[in-house]
């Protein structure tokens, strides 16, 4: 693996390999000394052109636990706000000597442009690009499901036959896209539940079945219910009449939570809008994996950085 740009590029074997490496990283995260020397002497740049706290901190923690040096670059207040192009920014960083780039960008496809251009020859990890993909989030979601469902027998396992219901703003969600592709690669069945205005206008978006009624979808007794955040910053159109109506039709309310089966996992990529897409009771339920997802995020990102920065470096090797 050189770059990680999209979960659609990952084969089943590659995805399982990343998750298995993440298992070893998770074991390290339980030790007294949570540090490995694997990336000692390497420098990773967190190149964030879009606001993010948890993803950046998670990547930073992951890189530091592998002993890499981390440079945080936020576009706000940098030369980018003076009009510097991506190419010049990256070449400037490259001249300082860096070994990997973790990139978040508001434009879909920006990390791929960077990975394929010859401005700099280092691994690029996509930390979210526009409304396109967020591959490490999908990997940590899959990792969390695998751990909950398979326990100690997780290593080497896929998610065959696991039925995952993804609820909410599929149209704008890079988490939904990355998850839909990765989960299907791992053998899971993905269904979306959302109002038609928040779904791509195709029959089976990303190969998933669609419900427009959350209660019908929940009656199918899914193994996992994953809520998506209502992204206020992308709601620049009338996608639904008002937040209360959204909650009534598509929120995981206390009443809906009570009807879920005991084994159904409740997942949310965070940050949560409590009371909007997820009720407080649902978020704090023992079936909820929200906090585990954050912990697993560090392990999965350690695995991705480790594999990207120490892996085979054939020049211009294709993605993942």
């Amino acid at each position: 693996m050189k770059h990680l740009l999209s979960t659609a590029d990952l084969s089943r074997d590659e995805a399982i390999r990343i998750l298995d490496v993440a298992e070893e990283m998770a074991e390290v995260n339980t030790r007294e000394v949570r540090k490995l020397p694997a990336l000692r002497g390497k420098t990773v740049v967190n190149l964030f052109f879009e606001d993010s706290t948890r993803t950046r901190i998670s990547f930073e923690a992951a890189a530091k636990r592998l002993s890499a040096d981390v440079i945080n670059f936020a576009a706000k207040g940098s030369s980018v706000s003076k009009g510097e192009s991506l190419k010049d920014t990256v070449q400037t960083l490259g001249a300082m000597g860096i070994d990997g780039i973790v990139m978040r960008h508001p434009a879909s496809g920006a990390p791929r442009v960077l990975a394929e251009a010859d401005w700099i020859d280092v691994p690029v990890v996509n930390a979210g690009d526009g409304t396109h993909e967020h591959p490490t989030q999908a990997l940590l979601d899959a990792f969390t499901m695998r751990r909950r469902l398979h326990g100690v027998a997780s290593r080497g396992a896929g998610l065959d036959g696991v039925r995952v219901l993804i609820v909410g703003d599929v149209l704008h969600s890079r988490v939904a896209r990355s998850n839909a592709w990765l989960l299907r690669t791992l053998g899971a069945e993905v269904t979306f539940a959302a109002p038609p205005t928040l779904l791509p206008a195709v029959d089976r978006p990303f190969g998933a079945a669609v419900h427009h009624d959350l209660d019908v979808a929940l009656a199918e007794d899914p193994d996992v219910v994953m809520l998506l955040r209502i992204q206020q910053e992308r709601m620049n159109d009338a996608f639904f009449p008002n937040p209360r109506e959204y909650t009534r039709h598509f929120g995981l309310t206390a009443a809906r939570t009570a009807r879920l089966s005991d084994r159904t996992l409740i997942m949310h990529p965070g940050p949560m809008n409590r009371g909007l897409e997820i009720a407080g009771v649902a978020a704090d339920d023992p079936r909820s994996t929200v906090v585990e997802q954050v912990a697993n995020g560090v392990s999965v990102r350690m695995a991705v950085l480790y594999l990207a920065l120490t892996g085979e470096h054939e020049p211009k090797e294709s993605v993942a």
Binding site: M1, R17, D20, V21, E23, E24, E27, V28, R31, E32, V33, K35, L36, P37, A38, L39, K42, L66, V152, R155, Y306, L307, L309, T310, G311, E312, H313
Partner: protein
């Protein structure tokens, strides 16, 4: 490429039995002893040593409890992965780490016996010592290997050796074990034939030194 088998299954079993006795003798009994195998074949050897020690030393399994893997055993055997501590990471060799499982007792104040298959450059053992530091502080660390083939690149020696095998650096020593490879044997493969009598395949060209694949050389020591 000439291949000769230097140890067969009974030889390996005898060597391990002797190592087990040596470990007990050097430690004056079983107290505080832990075995940590270096994956993959060192881990298999550590499990075999664990079984042998359980047979020959009543004290070994006296305080039997669930081991690192959850099964009830002596609770004294685990695995130590050294991948992340190697000094050749980032040289284009993608390595997936293996599992590290530490017995529930932890390693603090214990006598840890590292178990590996072939001792060669010593770099794996250096990485293992480094990996141990992140886990705890043993009272002492000893090293048991099935084969010592020489060519050390670091000041490291084994405390317990199954067999000393003087080899040339262009030879490759491979341990095969039933658990991982279907049979028990140690073979030496020759990458370049110097003595024509040893050429088993006459079609094998006696060409000059072929470039060594760093992965294979490392593999012999892994």
């Amino acid at each position: 490429m000439g291949t000769r088998t230097v140890l067969q299954q009974p030889d390996i079993t005898r060597a391990l039995t002797r190592i087990a006795h040596e470990i007990l003798e050097a430690n004056h009994g079983a107290s505080d002893l832990l075995l940590l195998g270096i994956p993959t074949r060192g881990a298999v050897l550590a499990e075999r040593l664990d079984r042998i020690l359980a047979d020959i030393e009543p004290e070994w399994s006296a305080d039997a409890r669930p081991g690192a893997d959850g099964r009830t055993g002596s609770g004294r055997v685990g695995t130590l992965d050294v991948t992340m501590h190697r000094d050749d990471l980032g040289h284009g060799i993608g390595r997936a780490p293996h599992r590290t499982t530490i017995p529930a007792s932890g390693i603090d104040g214990r006598v840890v016996v590292l178990v590996d298959d072939v001792l060669y450059s010593g770099r794996t053992v250096r990485a293992a010592l480094d990996a141990l530091q992140g886990i705890g502080r043993p009272r002492a660390v000893r090293l048991a290997v099935l084969v010592d083939r020489g060519h050390r690149e670091l000041p490291i020696r084994a405390d317990h050796v199954g067999k000393n095998l003087p080899t040339a650096s262009d030879e490759r020593v491979t341990l095969r074990l039933t658990e991982t490879d279907g049979s028990d044997e140690v073979v030496i493969e020759q990458r370049m034939t110097q003595d024509p009598r040893e050429t088993q395949d006459p079609r094998e060209p006696q060409d000059p030194r072929e470039p060594q694949d760093p992965r294979e050389t490392q593999g012999a020591d892994a």
